[in-house]
Structures are given as structure tokens and as C-alpha cells.
Symmetry: C2
Subunit: 233 residues, 2 copies
């Protein structure tokens, strides 16, 4: 047929189910901290809010439960898990190890284009953090963008997916803390570690990139733990 070539250029249009949409909506609620540890979630209420039946929400929730981002209590209530300080520490250590690996690989494998993207993301976060009136919500998103710009260049898709799930799990705690204590952002804690990481990636120094990024995670976690907002183990 004459249209063979033209048809070949058509992008595969993705199939989005209502469950996918519901998943993203809930994940966003969690990642942005509007759903905080201990909060309960009702299938029917969520469904009503999203304007669909319970079915898609049910599927979305079951995925989030499988990820450990939500949990069903023995009483069958769905809620955001309340992490103990011990749990949070373990999660942070896991993130330091795994995200450190990704940063190291990025430092060793990154292309120039990827380096440019990382530089741009770092600059965007810095601009927000150093601005006269930083917007916390925006800063959190830019911080996430920077981290994932780094992980995207590591060359290992499964590793990225693992990290994305860990972030989803840590999201509620981190954002809850940030909303309660936005001053940390102003002190530019993360800025130095980000700069160190960027320098290491530029220099193709894997171990240094891993160390700097792990330090970033550790300091953020230490800060949150020092606030004492988490339940003891």
C-alpha cells in the first residue's frame, strides 16, 4: 500500500485504563505528602472523588499495597503505613546503597547530553533553593527531577524502577516532614551535596559520586530523624 511508510511513523498510542489514572492520582497524593502516614483511605470515597466506580481504585490500591506504599490493616482498613524510626533508617540505608550505585554508574557511563540534562536540573534546584521566597512544593519536585536525571543516565532500567519504588515509599514521610519544617530547605543543606555529586559525575569519578549522593540522603534522613516525628521502633 502507498501509505505503508506514513503508517509506520505513527506512534503506538498507549492504552490508559482508569486504573492507571487512579494509580497516578493516588501516587501523586502520596509523593506530594497530601496523604500522610496514618491516614486512612476509603475505596468508595476515593472512587467518588475520582468520578469512577470502586473497581479502578481497587486495582490501583492493590498495586500500591504490593509496593508497600499503602497497607491493609488486619481490620481491613487501608492506610498509609506509619514507619518507625527504625524502618525509616533501614529505608534510608537501602536508598544510600542503591542510589549510590546508580550515581556511580552514571558518573562512569554518562553521555554529554545526559550531563547537560543533569547540569540543568541541578541549576534549576539551586535557583529555587537560593531564591528569595522558595516554594517548598516546587523545590521538592525539582529535587526529585535532579535525582532522577542522574538515575536515568545510569543505563540500567531495572535499577531506575527499583529506585522509583523506594522514593514512592519514602515520599509520605519526607514530605510530611518538609511541610512541618520547611526551614531545612532554606539552609541549603542539599546544595553542597548536589554540587559535589555533579562535580564527580563531570569528572567520571564513580566512587565520589556515590559518596556524595549517599551523603545527601543520609543528611536528609538524619535531619528528619532528629526531629523525632517518627515512632520509636
Amino acid at each position: 500500500m502507498s501509505s505503508r511508510l506514513a503508517l509506520a511513523e505513527l506512534p503506538q498510542l498507549e492504552r490508559r485504563t482508569l486504573a492507571d489514572t487512579a494509580y497516578e492520582a493516588l501516587a501523586d497524593l502520596l509523593a506530594s505528602g497530601r496523604l500522610t502516614p496514618g491516614d486512612r483511605l476509603s475505596l468508595r470515597q476515593s472512587a467518588a472523588a475520582l468520578g469512577v466506580s470502586v473497581m479502578p481504585v481497587r486495582e490501583a490500591v492493590s498495586r500500591l499495597v504490593a509496593d508497600g506504599v499503602l497497607e491493609v490493616a488486619p481490620t481491613r482498613a487501608i492506610r498509609v503505613p506509619v514507619m518507625t524510626a527504625r524502618d525509616f533508617r533501614a529505608l534510608a540505608e537501602t536508598r544510600m546503597a542503591i542510589e549510590g550505585i546508580a550515581a556511580a554508574r552514571t558518573a562512569e557511563h554518562r553521555s554529554e547530553a545526559e550531563l547537560t540534562a543533569i547540569r540543568r536540573a541541578e541549576a534549576a534546584f539551586r535557583a529555587e533553593a537560593e531564591s528569595a521566597e522558595p516554594d517548598c512544593t516546587r523545590a521538592v519536585r525539582l529535587n526529585r527531577d535532579l535525582h532522577f536525571a542522574i538515575y536515568a543516565a545510569c543505563g540500567l532500567t531495572p535499577l531506575q524502577e527499583v529506585i522509583a519504588r523506594l522514593w514512592l515509599k519514602a515520599g509520605p514521610v519526607i514530605n510530611l516532614d518538609l511541610r512541618a519544617h520547611p526551614e531545612r530547605l532554606l539552609q541549603g543543606f542539599a546544595l553542597r551535596r548536589h554540587a559535589e555529586t555533579l562535580v564527580a559525575i563531570e569528572a567520571r569519578d564513580g566512587p565520589a559520586a556515590a559518596a556524595a549522593l549517599a551523603a545527601d540522603i543520609r543528611e536528609a534522613a538524619d535531619f528528619i530523624l532528629s526531629r523525632g516525628g517518627l515512632r520509636d521502633a
Copy 2:
């Protein structure tokens, strides 16, 4: 009440839904290689086989899809993903990195009881592999037991969960290969690496444990890739 203490000793009995059971049944099918890459899965047929309605199966499948262990094709067909050689290599490299970390942490933190458990698991696998007529299915299970005995001692629950998901994802490919080429087991490839890992853990040598375990994963992956059973990227 007088029975307060006695009641406190009761273990919380877990609530098992049909969806949980269906999930385990399907996961077992995948991990044991009875469901191989490319196979299609029907909700209704699976439900009939399990003697339940489609609902629990649906939920189980949606979890497995979220884990990347199953996928829904754009035609809405559910199937076991067919990995390209490139995908499998990326998965293996991710596993080498992450499971290496776990092994290193185990070497540095393990208790004597955990070391004993690991020794026992290693001996069990060795006994099966060196027996006159090794049973492949059994050997695969013992190999898994050994690896997870190591990971269980790493002290980081989130890390263990991450690894479990990676194994589920790699399961179909590995088991498919093993069923097609059981001779690798007989040659005792893995035995040396297991022994090296055990020695390193005994000596509390983290880097050595990570290297030995990563080598175990790499050699298994290389063997499978050399068979050419996987589609090119």
C-alpha cells in the same frame, strides 16, 4: 482480666484473601518456570483453574503487572514478558550490584546463628548438586534458599524486598533455560562461587562476599546468554 498476658502471646493471625492466594499460585508458576516468557494468561481460565471468580485473579495479576513480572499487551492480552538479551543483561547487572551490596552487608553484620543458617543452606545445595542424580527443580529451590539465607542476614528489610522482586522477574527466564539445559547444574558452576561467598562471609570480608556473589550471578547470566535463547535487542 487475668488472661491479659496469655492473650498477648497470641500471634496475630494473618488475613489471607483469595487474591493473596491467587498471587502466590501465579508467582509460584512463574518462579518455577511452568509459565515461560511469551505465554499468555487468561483471567477466566486461571480463575476456573483456581476455583474462584475472576476478581481475585484480576487483583493478583495487577500486582504482578505492577512488578513487571507480567505485562498487558496493547491488545489487552496478559502475558509473560519476553525479555531481549539486552533486557536480561541489564537485569543481571542490576542484580549483581544490589545483591552484592546485600552480601557485603551480611558479611559485616551477620550473627553466628545467621552464619549457621547460611552454612546449612550451602551444604544442602552442595549435597543436591553433587548427588548422583540431581533433581533440577529441587536444586533451583535450594539455590534460592541459599541466596535468601544470605540476604535475610543483611539487616535491611527493604533491600530484601527489592531483591525478591528482581528474582521474580528473572525467574521465568532462568527456569526456562534450566529446563532446556540442565547440564549446567551438573558441572558445578555455582558451587565454587557459593563456597567463595561463604568463606568471605565467615571472614567478615564484605567486598569479597560481594565479588563472589556477583560472579555467581554473572556466570549464570553469561551461560544463559551464550545459549542464545533470548531475542536480540
